[in-house]
C-alpha cells in the first residue's frame, strides 16, 4: 500500500478521537468514512483498520458498511471524476447515449478509472440540474444539454489541459 500523507492522517486521527468521545461513538462510522474520502479521495484499508481501533468496531462491519454505500470509493480514483446523471429527466433526454459515448471514448466501464488515471467514470443519481438535462458532472462542474458530440468535446478539453500541464 502506498504511504498515506501524514498530515491528512493526523487530521483524520483527530477527527476519530473527537467522535470516539461522543455518545454512541460507533454511530459516527459513516462520518469517519466521509471524512476519509474527503481527505484521500477514497477509503484506504489502513484507515479502516485504524477506525476499527478508534471506534471499537470490527473491521468486517466497517467493510460491510463501506461496500454498502455507493458513495465510497475503495480504490484510488482518477484525476477527474465524471459523473453521468442517470436521473429520470436526464434519462428521458438521452443520458444513456451520453454514457455509451463516454464508455466508448474512455474505454472503461462505469466505476472504473482510465489507464492514464485521468478519468474515473461514474453514474450518479439525479444531480438536481434537470432543467438542463442531460448533464454530466466533472469534479464539481456541471455540463448540461449534452449530446454525443458535445460530450466528446468536453472530454477532449480535459485531455488537452492535462497534456499541457504535463508539458509545463
Amino acid at each position: 500500500m502506498t504511504e498515506l500523507a501524514q498530515d491528512k492522517m493526523t487530521t483524520l486521527r483527530e477527527f476519530m478521537a473527537e467522535v470516539s468521545n461522543k455518545d454512541y461513538a460507533e454511530s459516527y462510522l459513516i462520518a469517519v468514512l466521509h471524512k476519509t474520502q474527503e481527505l484521500f479521495g477514497y477509503v484506504p484499508r489502513q484507515v479502516m483498520d485504524e477506525a476499527s481501533e478508534a471506534l471499537q468496531i470490527p473491521t468486517a462491519h466497517i467493510w460491510g458498511v463501506a461496500t454498502f454505500y455507493h458513495y465510497f470509493n475503495l480504490e484510488p480514483i482518477g484525476r477527474h471524476t465524471i459523473s453521468v446523471c442517470m436521473g429520470t429527466a436526464c434519462y428521458v433526454k438521452g443520458a444513456t447515449q451520453v454514457l455509451d459515448v463516454l464508455k466508448k471514448e474512455l474505454g472503461v466501464e462505469v466505476g472504473k478509472t482510465t489507464e492514464d488515471r485521468l478519468f474515473t467514470l461514474q453514474e450518479a443519481r439525479c444531480l438536481g440540474a434537470c432543467g438542463i438535462a442531460p448533464v454530466i458532472m466533472i469534479d464539481d462542474k456541471i455540463y448540461g444539454e449534452l449530446d454525443a458530440k458535445k460530450t466528446v468535446e468536453i472530454i477532449n478539453q480535459y485531455r488537452k489541459a492535462a497534456a499541457e500541464s504535463r508539458k509545463v
Binding site: 444531480l127 440540474a129 434537470c130 432543467g131 438542463i132
Partner: protein
C-alpha cells in the same frame, strides 16, 4: 425576563434593523438565485458580475442571494425589485446578460423585456 413570544418579536425587530442597515431600503434590490440547480446553470458567475459592479461603484442597490423558486428550465434567475413597482424577473441570465442588466436596468432603469420571465 421576556416570554418566548416577546423574545422572538424582539429578535425580529433586530433582524429587520440589520437588514435595513445593509441597504435594504435602497431603490433597487437584486436577488440572484443560488440553489444547486441555479449554480449548475451558472448563477455563481452571474452573482460575481453584480458583486463586481457594486465594488466598482454601483450604488443604491441591495444585493442578495435567494433559493430556488422552481423555474428550473429558466435558470439562472435574477429578480430586480423596486418598491412600488412590479418585481422584474429575468431568466436564463448569463454573465453578459447580467452586465447588461447592470448597465441598462440598474443604472438606467430600463427593463429588458425579452429576458423577462
Amino acid at each position: 425576563m421576556l416570554t418566548p413570544l416577546q423574545a422572538i418579536k424582539k429578535k425580529r425587530a433586530e433582524a429587520v434593523n440589520r437588514i435595513v442597515s445593509k441597504g435594504y431600503l435602497s431603490t433597487k434590490r437584486v436577488y440572484v438565485g443560488m440553489a444547486t440547480c441555479e449554480i449548475a446553470a451558472g448563477s455563481k458567475e452571474v452573482m460575481d458580475v453584480f458583486r463586481q459592479a457594486i465594488a466598482n461603484g454601483l450604488t443604491d442597490v441591495y444585493l442578495s442571494q435567494k433559493g430556488c423558486a422552481g423555474r428550473c428550465n429558466l435558470e439562472p434567475t435574477v429578480e430586480v425589485v423596486e418598491e412600488g413597482k412590479i418585481p422584474v424577473k429575468y431568466g436564463r441570465v448569463t454573465p453578459q446578460r447580467a452586465r447588461d442588466i447592470v448597465e441598462r436596468h440598474l443604472k438606467k432603469g430600463e427593463i429588458i423585456a425579452e429576458w423577462v420571465i
